[in-house]
């Protein structure tokens, strides 16, 4: 197996008394899109800036393409960064912005011209080389920022909340465009976001961060289906977190819901809302309760059912157009639809 393209080992960083990164290890394979996902203040941007060289870690090492670059200054790394607000040079045209890195490298005028035009074509901005950044829309600015780094053919592409400044509709279109572009170029990409949908859309793998620690690294499906902690389960997607206790290799929940497990002690069971169903008949296994919330959102219907626990159970079902319409206040039963679709977290041995 080849060595990972980007390797972070034991990265630690504190700003004053505040520990921002505590022992972060991360490996990104060549051509892979890795997302650092977490709420603001979790250290994801600091970790990204460590790869770019703007942050020198207190401990640990950064290597890119097998070379240790921990102490290399930012301008000596083959790493292209797209900043959160793009950081386009306002006093340079689109062409000037994209040509900047080439001019710094003292390339010939003709080569600069050729490469800038190719890069602008790549991001579909070939028609606007003479515009000033202030004359561009947010989406266009983002594409200039992208062209500006891609023109240098960096080994690694870093993106810091690149869609944060765009409105929702444009954001989705740009996400798809970016994903296709990055895949086509096969460039190793590390991408920071606090938006789980964005992470699920764009990534090959996701690193979920919390309080300066990487909690879990995995593919979007692994993260969603097998969250390593209640934090991850709660942050990525909606979940029902049910406390339970293991007795003789089994957890008993609700009425006659029995789940086998090889864990022990007190545990938390994670059940995604789409793995539950609401039934009108109260008899049978599950959780009897009262419907407290119904939302018909086009293709799906979302229910919340008060089953006497600390939080209502959330249920997500495909809407049945001809079916029985349940209303708030109805007595119902929540049923586990798919007995495989749950995760047990907590003490004891891992499955």
């Amino acid at each position: 197996m080849t060595a990972p393209h980007v390797r972070l080992q034991g990265i630690r960083k504190a700003f004053g008394a505040l520990a921002v990164l505590r022992d972060c290890d991360l490996e990104v394979e060549k051509g892979e899109v890795m997302t650092l996902l977490g709420p603001s203040g979790c250290g994801k941007t600091t970790l990204l800036r460590t790869i770019a060289g703007f942050v020198v870690p207190d401990a640990g090492s950064v290597s890119i393409g097998g070379r240790d670059v921990t102490l290399h200054p930012p301008n000596r790394r083959s790493v292209g960064m797209v900043f959160q607000h793009y950081a386009l040079f306002p006093h340079m045209t689109v062409f000037g912005n994209v040509a900047y890195g080439l001019r710094v490298r003292r390339l010939g005028r003709e080569e600069i011209d050729r490469r800038v035009r190719a890069a602008l074509e790549l991001v579909e901005l070939a028609a606007l080389p003479e515009r000033w950044p202030a004359q561009l829309s947010g989406g266009q600015q983002q594409r200039v920022a992208l062209a500006r780094v891609l023109v240098l053919a960096p080994e690694v592409l870093l993106l810091d909340e690149p869609f944060g400044a765009l409105d929702a509709k444009l954001r989705q279109a740009m996400q798809v465009d970016l994903r296709q572009l990055v895949r086509r170029l096969g460039i190793t990409t590390v991408f920071v976001t606090h938006d789980q949908d964005e992470a699920l859309t764009l990534s090959d793998r996701i690193a979920v961060m919390r309080g300066g620690v990487i909690e879990q690294v995995g593919t979007p499906l692994e993260i969603y289906d097998r969250p390593a902690s209640t934090y991850v389960a709660d942050f990525v997607g909606l979940s029902n977190l049910l406390p339970g206790e293991v007795r003789a290799g089994r957890i008993e929940l609700g009425r006659s819901v029995v789940l086998p497990t090889d864990r022990t002690g007190r545990v938390t069971v994670v059940i995604r809302p789409e793995h539950l169903a609401v039934r009108r008949d109260e008899a049978g296994p599950g959780w009897p309760g009262t419907l407290t919330f119904v939302k018909h959102a086009g293709a799906t219907t979302e229910y919340q059912v008060d089953v006497g626990g600390p939080a209502p159970l959330r249920v997500l079902a495909m809407r049945d157009p001809g079916g029985d319409l349940l209303e708030v206040g109805d007595r119902v039963r929540v049923e586990l639809r798919d007995s495989a679709a749950w995760v047990v977290l907590g003490e004891g041995a891992r499955p």
Partner: protein, 302 residues
């Protein structure tokens, strides 16, 4: 049915003034400027065109003889050349000395910032006259502070002759006008976007290159403001050249002072003052025009 009469109060600009209540609070200051500046200036300009007969000004007369006399006198051209040279040299020196200070200000912490700002502003709290006298003491003759120190330390064998030269005037002008360069530069540099410098480094530029390609061009508004201010002030200053340049040293501004206050030749004084003011205005316009051309990118933001 007749069309409604259009009166002058319908003119857009009149309505803007009358309805825009924003103008009224500014009226006292505008009035003050008009009475205390515009009127005396008009009188001053008028004097340059009046005939003077045996020391008496004849009201209502008009002549361009004073302008003719002064503009054909090579001495006045020499004076203008000296004033211009001093203004340019002072401005460049202030820029070269002031830029690092303003840049440093944006790099240090809040406490050091406060100290720097105090250091920059505090000279403004003493009168320029007093500070200029201080330069007399420092630069003055064999027993001046500077020469005493240099001689004692054995750095020079014979005392330097600085006082009563262009150098003394340049030193004085630079010291007095430095804050006017530093403050606009601080304003321009402190508001800059640091991510641009990171982006530049990320694209491979060294610190020096980032400074030259990103920091300096984006501080152009501050450079323009400081340059215009310092040039206008040093080009027209008369106290410093008079005191530090010595008895025979003269610039246009010094000459205006002599003609008006000492010799009482008000016509010559008025013509020189008008030419000094007019040329200063043109040169400052030239500075701002050049700067605006170099900042074409700002058009896109409006």
């Amino acid at each position: 049915m007749s069309a409604p009469a259009v009166t002058w109060t319908d003119a857009a600009w009149v309505r803007r003034i009358v309805r825009g209540r924003g103008i009224w609070p500014a009226v006292p200051a505008l009035l003050y400027v008009f009475v205390m500046l515009a009127v005396p200036l008009a009188v001053l300009f008028a004097f340059g065109f009046l005939t003077i007969d045996r020391g008496r000004v004849i009201p209502g007369s008009f002549t361009v003889a004073h302008y003719q006399r002064i503009l054909t006198d090579s001495l006045s051209w020499l004076l203008f050349w000296r004033s211009f040279r001093l203004g340019v040299a002072t401005t460049l020196l202030c820029l070269v000395l002031g830029y690092p200070v303003a840049y440093l200000y944006t790099l240090v912490g809040p406490a050091a910032r406060k100290l720097l700002l105090i250091a920059v502003i505090s000279p403004l709290l003493t009168s320029a006259l007093v500070r200029t006298y201080a330069w007399l003491v420092i630069l003055g003759g064999r027993r001046g502070l500077l020469n005493t120190v240099l001689l004692r330390l054995g750095i020079v064998d014979t005392p330097l002759r600085i006082l009563n030269t262009d150098w003394a005037v340049l030193i004085g002008l630079t010291q007095v006008h430095l804050p006017f360069m530093i403050l606009p530069l601080i304003a321009a540099l402190a508001s800059r976007d640091r991510f641009l410098e990171e982006a530049s480094a990320n694209l491979g530029a060294s610190r020096l290159e980032t400074f030259l390609r990103v920091v300096v061009p984006l501080s152009l508004p501050g450079i323009a403001a400081g340059t215009a201010l310092v040039f206008a002030l040093s080009y027209t200053n008369f106290i410093i050249p008079q005191l530090l340049g010595g008895g025979t040293y003269s610039t246009v501004a010094v000459k205006v002072y002599e003609q008006t206050i000492v010799i009482l030749d008000w016509a010559t004084g008025a013509v020189l003052a008008a030419l000094l003011l007019g040329s200063c205005f043109v040169l400052v316009l030239l500075i701002t025009w050049t700067a605006n051309r170099a900042m074409a990118w700002r058009e896109g933001t409006r």
